[in-house]
Structures are given as C-alpha cells and as structure tokens.
C-alpha cells in the first residue's frame, strides 16, 4: 500500500481514494458532463439478463460499479464475450459522435481483438488524411502478482506503444489515474489506458473536482542528483521504495514516472540524466523490444555525452508469466533488483 501522489497541482477539497475509486470518479463525472460518453465491455455492470441483482460486478475489479444504476444500460453496456466486436463497436461509435470507454478486462485479451485496435482504430486518422477522429478509451488491466497465470498477467504495453496512432497511459497512483482518465476521455485520439491489477487498492489524496493531467508530462515522485530511475506503472512504487532505502545510504535518486508512455516525456528523462549521468529503467514487461530498452535507446542516442556509467534496465525475464508464486515473485522486478542495478551504476 502506498500513500503518495506525484506533483498534485490542485488544491481544494480532497479525500483519500483508491485507484479504483479515482477512476470511477473520473468516469462518473465525465459521464455526467458529457452525454456522449458511454462505457461498454464484459460485465462492466454485470448480471445482465440474470434472475439476481443488477450491477453484480461493476467490472471484474469493480472499477465501473455504480455507473449503470446512475446512467442506465443504454450508456453502461454489458456485451457478450466478443472482444473484437467490443473494440470494433467502440471505435466505430467513436468515429460517429460518441466517446466510448471500452473495457477489455484483462489486456491479454487484445489478442482476440488486435486487428480492430492496430489495423483499424490506430490507422483511421492517418489513412483518411486527418479527416477522422476516434475519441476512444480502451481500459484494461495489466501485470502479474495475482497468480493468474500466463494468459491473465501479461504487460504488453510495449506492443501498443510500438503502434503509431495510439496513446498509451499507465498511471501509478490514484491522483494521476483520475486526472489521466479525464484527459483520456476528453482526448480526440484512441487511448490505451492500462491499470495494474495489483494497484487498485493503493490510496492517495485525490481532489474531489475534475482535473485533467496532460499527456507526455512526466512526474517526479523523488528528486535526486546521483541516479535517474525511470519506472512504469506499479514499478514506480518499487522504485520509490528503492530510492528511499538508497537515500539513507547517501545515494540520491531521481525517480521519474512518465505516466504516459506514448507520448513519452523524453525531455524530462534527458534533462535528469544530464544532472545525474546515470540511468536505470524499471519495467515489468519482457526485455526484448520493450519500453525499458526503448527508453535506454533514446538516452543512449540523445544523452550519450551526459552518461558517466552504462545504462541498466530492470525488467521481467524473457518468459511468459509463470503461475507458481515463487516463480511469479522472481519474475516481477523486485526492490532488491532495483537496488542492485542502482548500486552497479554508482560503482559500489
């Protein structure tokens, strides 16, 4: 459980909220503000056609709970288990006057719907000469830690980051999750909004009012001068933990949370490396052609002369996500691995 927020800029009334509640807040307020915002997916409400209670799930992790009772089944749409049709319908609706928020439940399910995402949604605007816009948000859960096995635990954010035309958002705390979701809904491009499934109960102070966090602006949960640690999604929590341990040893770490990986705030990373001369990138994804190697590549190319030590990446190994708890714990980058990488670049 972490209790922090990165650079909260809005004063006023706030309360301690989980990431789950923060995203729910953002969706609810945007749906109240804009009648074209709809939510659709498998069991985003739950219990459709069943003899028992309505709104039985509110999404498999309860993020959309309570939206259907307020907005009705016309705007909170339970779909059949048909991921390609869900994404296609959402993208088509986005091209025709709605602002859909589609839920893929587990991001592993992009496999079933991938053509609709990368060949259709992502390419519309460019192929049509800038004449169309697709204000679509695809929400999905990513990551391991739930012992859910190889087909419910993947990260896969690097795959969508690779695709031009998509924006990819990966909040690490409740404050950012709300502001980024508001921005995602108001944005005119297709957004992949990835929520790490181990983080839903993490809390921090979240303003009651609506606010949008612009895409492509990194946050700095820790400022420092010796090493730059760039971390993504739940890895931000572990990077902060590592930075706080290292601070006691006299090693000053700057922790950067890009918040959106496409667009990426590479300027923030390069400026930080200019000061520290050292870079560690932490990402739960697989190592090959991944976000960690991408960020390392950008710094190697554009910030080479700032570097005084080799760049280190801390990622999952090049395997699918294992089921057994011992294996999964060894798979996900740990605080210890981050500490070791930082000590290595410091030369300790």
């Amino acid at each position: 459980m972490t209790n922090y927020s990165n650079d909260p800029k809005i004063a006023g009334k706030s309360s301690l909220k989980t990431i789950r509640e923060a995203i729910n807040d953002a969706l609810r307020a945007e749906m109240r503000r804009d009648p074209t915002v709809i939510v659709l997916g498998e069991e985003v409400s739950g219990g459709a056609g069943c003899p028992g209670e309505d709104d039985a799930y509110g999404g498999v992790f309860g993020v959309t709970k309570g939206l259907m009772p307020e907005f009705g089944r016309e705007r909170v749409i339970d779909t059949p288990i048909s991921e390609a049709a869900i994404i296609g319908a959402a993208a088509g609706a986005a091209n025709n006057g709605l602002r859909p928020v589609a839920e893929l439940m587990f991001f592993d399910f992009i496999g079933v719907s991938f053509d609709q995402i990368f060949n259709q949604t992502a390419k519309f605007r460019y192929m049509f000469g800038g004449k169309s816009k697709t204000p679509l948000v695809i929400r999905a859960t990513v990551g391991g830690g739930w012992r859910a096995g190889a087909q419910h635990s993947s990260m896969l954010h690097s795959i969508v980051t690779h695709i031009a035309g998509l924006k990819v958002v990966m909040p690490s705390n409740a404050y950012d999750a709300k502001g980024l979701m508001v921005q995602a809904i108001r944005d005119d491009d297709p957004i992949i909004f990835l929520e790490h499934k181990t983080m839903y109960d993490n809390t921090c102070e979240v303003p009651d009012e609506q606010y949008a966090i612009p895409f492509g602006e990194a946050a700095f949960p820790r400022h420092g001068t010796d090493v730059t640690i760039v971390a993504i999604s739940n890895m931000v929590t572990r990077a902060i933990e590592a930075a706080d341990i290292l601070a006691k040893e006299g090693i000053s770490c700057e922790v950067i949370d890009p918040r959106t990986v496409s667009p990426l705030d590479d300027e923030a990373i390069l400026e930080s490396v200019e000061v520290t001369g050292r870079l560690v990138v932490v990402d739960e994804g697989n190592p090959r052609c991944g976000l960690a190697s991408d960020i390392a590549g950008i710094v190697a190319e554009k910030g080479f002369h700032s570097l005084i030590a080799p760049i280190r990446t801390v990622t999952a190994p090049h395997t699918p996500v294992p089921f057994a708890p011992e294996l999964e714990d060894a798979y996900i980058p740990s605080v210890e691995k981050i500490l070791a990488a930082v000590r290595e670049v410091i030369g300790g």
Binding site: C50, G52, Y57, S82, V112, W146, A150, Q151, A324
Partner: protein, 323 residues
C-alpha cells in the same frame, strides 16, 4: 442391460471423482492453499465424462478456463493435477500453468484455456492433423455458452465444415457466461439453430442426463471418426458454483443453487437411474465413493507437501526447445 457394468462403474467413478475434486478445490482455495483464480465445474460432470469416456489418449480435447472436469474425464492424474493447481514443481505443468492452463499432452488434453474462445481453432488443428495423417483419431472442443459469441469459435465452426474436420463441438450451456445470462449474450433464441446454420449436424440435449449426453456424443464422435465431419452438441447444465471461487454470485436467483443441487444434480440423476434399472447397486457406488475420498485426500496431502519450483532453475526453462 444396454451398458456393460465396467462402463457404468467407470462413468460413475469419473463423475464422482470430478465432483469431489472440485468441492475439495473450493475448500483448499478458501483455506489459502490454492493461489490465483480457480473456476470449478461441479454440476457439469455428466457432459465431461460422456464426451471423454470412449476417447483414446490419441483423441484430442481442448478445454476452457473451467477445465478440471475435462482433465479428469480424459484420464489426467488427480494427484499431478492437484499439485499443478497448488503450483508445485511436480504438477502436470511443473507449476507453471496452474488451474487455468492445466494440460496433459500425453493424455490428449490440449489444455485448459484462459482466453474465452481460444481453444476451438486449435482443436481444428488437431482435427486437421488427424485427417491429414489419416490416423482416424478425432478432436473435441469444450465450449461455453459465452464462448459461442467469440468470432474465433464461429470461424472455427465454419472452417471445420469447409474442411470436413473430425471435430465435435460440445457446448456446455450452464446458463451463465461469467456473470451474464446466456440468453442475454446469445442474440438468437437457440444456440443449436445457430450451430446448425454453420452447416453441421447440431442438437440440444439434457446435459444433466449422462445417458442422453453419452448417446448424442457417441453418434457425433462416430460421425467424425467415419469422415463425416464436425457436429455440435449443446448440453444444458447447471453450474453449482460461481464463475470463480469467491464469486459472490449476486446475479443468481434466491435459492437457485440450493434448489439445483437438490433437483438438477447429474450425479443423483445417474444414481437414481442405474439403481432403478438394476444396473448398479447403491452399495457398489457407496464403496466407490469411499475409495474416491481416500484418493482425493491423498492427492491433497501429497500436493501440500510437494516441492515448490526453484526460480533459479525453473523460471527460465521451457520457453524454447532451443535458443
């Protein structure tokens, strides 16, 4: 007697083993001994056993996320299954798969599948291999009323007809796709009519009745083996537990499960029938029950003391044959 006694004993033992295995999985999960997501199939035993009882290890089945029953019916070892579900290195998949990815290739069990609709296209492949190699083996996919609405499944059905593949599509219609009513997700009145629309023989049967299900499957599997192409069987059944263990099941009716356990229990229906017909005695089946309880107890005890995987050697192995 239309059925051999050995056949009836095998059918009962298999169904009862599934029932007790699943009920025990619920207990062990609640006791904190099973990590992750577990989807149990108690209530649906008759279909798994009727579909698999005549298959050989060379006949291939593809399963769903609710796959324990299919594994047991296909002959997987319950000790190795329990170890896998508990994430032990001596489990069927060395603890790497878990409940949702349990597989036993040697037994012709192509795997449970955590992607709804992920299995049927692969099972088409197994059927294509059998047809191409002329083995006379067949393939059978288990599907739910939910996966019926996946494009992958519909594509697989059409291709199975086009290529005349020896593939039996079994639909376990338990009324719920996760927490959504089957008849909400299915836009048509009858899944079987839709299945027939693909151009294959399709029928809807009472999946609570082992004998009805067995007879329907026998015809379909024989058709596949004789080169007659695919068939679809929609077997109506009841899910005694949640979508996953721990599902509060708010969407189900008051007393729905309690009533179903009383009046729609395929095991009770089987016992009543075989006793009434004079095919088996209650005493014989009670004796089997006792043996099964001992086996389950042993499977759990062995699994609880089985070694855990070692990240140093097991995390990076099995990704490739060679690299």
């Amino acid at each position: 007697m239309p059925y051999q006694k050995d056949f009836l004993l095998k059918a009962y033992r298999s169904m009862k083993t599934i029932r007790e295995f699943e009920e025990r999985c619920v207990k062990e999960f609640e006791g904190g001994n099973i990590p992750g997501f577990v989807h149990v199939s108690n209530g649906q035993e008759a279909i798994a056993v009727a579909a698999c009882i005549d298959l050989s290890d060379k006949d291939i089945i593809g399963s769903t996320h609710r796959g324990h029953g299919h594994c047991i019916a296909k002959g997987c070892d319950i000790g190795a299954m329990m170890k896998e579900i508990m994430g032990r290195v001596t489990g069927l998949c060395k603890g790497k798969g878990g409940s949702m990815h349990i597989a036993d290739i040697d037994k012709g069990m192509l795997g449970a599948n955590a992607i709804v609709g992920g299995g049927p296209p692969l099972v088409n492949g197994a059927a294509l291999a059998a047809k191409t190699l002329g083995t006379k083996n067949i393939a059978l996919s288990f599907n739910g009323d939910g996966s019926a609405n996946q494009g992958t499944v519909m594509e697989a059905m059409n291709m199975a007809v086009v290529l005349q593949l020896p593939h039996v599509f079994v639909y376990e219609n338990n009324g719920y796709a996760e927490g959504t009513a089957a008849n909400y997700g299915l836009g048509c009145d009858s899944l079987t009519d839709r299945n027939a629309g693909f151009g294959m023989p399709a029928e809807c049967i009472d999946g609570l009745d082992f004998f009805v299900t067995y007879e329907a499957l026998k015809v379909a599997t024989q058709r596949a083996r004789d080169g007659g192409g695919p068939s679809a069987i929609e077997a109506m059944c009841v899910r005694f537990d949640g979508h996953f263990i721990g599902d509060p099941q708010l969407y189900r009716g008051t007393n729905e499960i309690k009533d179903a356990r009383k009046t729609q229990d395929c095991l009770k229906i089987f016992r009543q029938r075989v006793v009434a017909e004079g095919w088996l005695t209650a005493a014989t089946m009670n004796a089997i029950d006792k043996e099964i309880m001992v086996e389950i107890e042993k499977a759990v005890a062995d699994a609880l003391t089985a070694p855990h995987p070692d990240p140093a050697t097991d995390l990076m192995s099995d990704v490739y044959c060679s690299y």
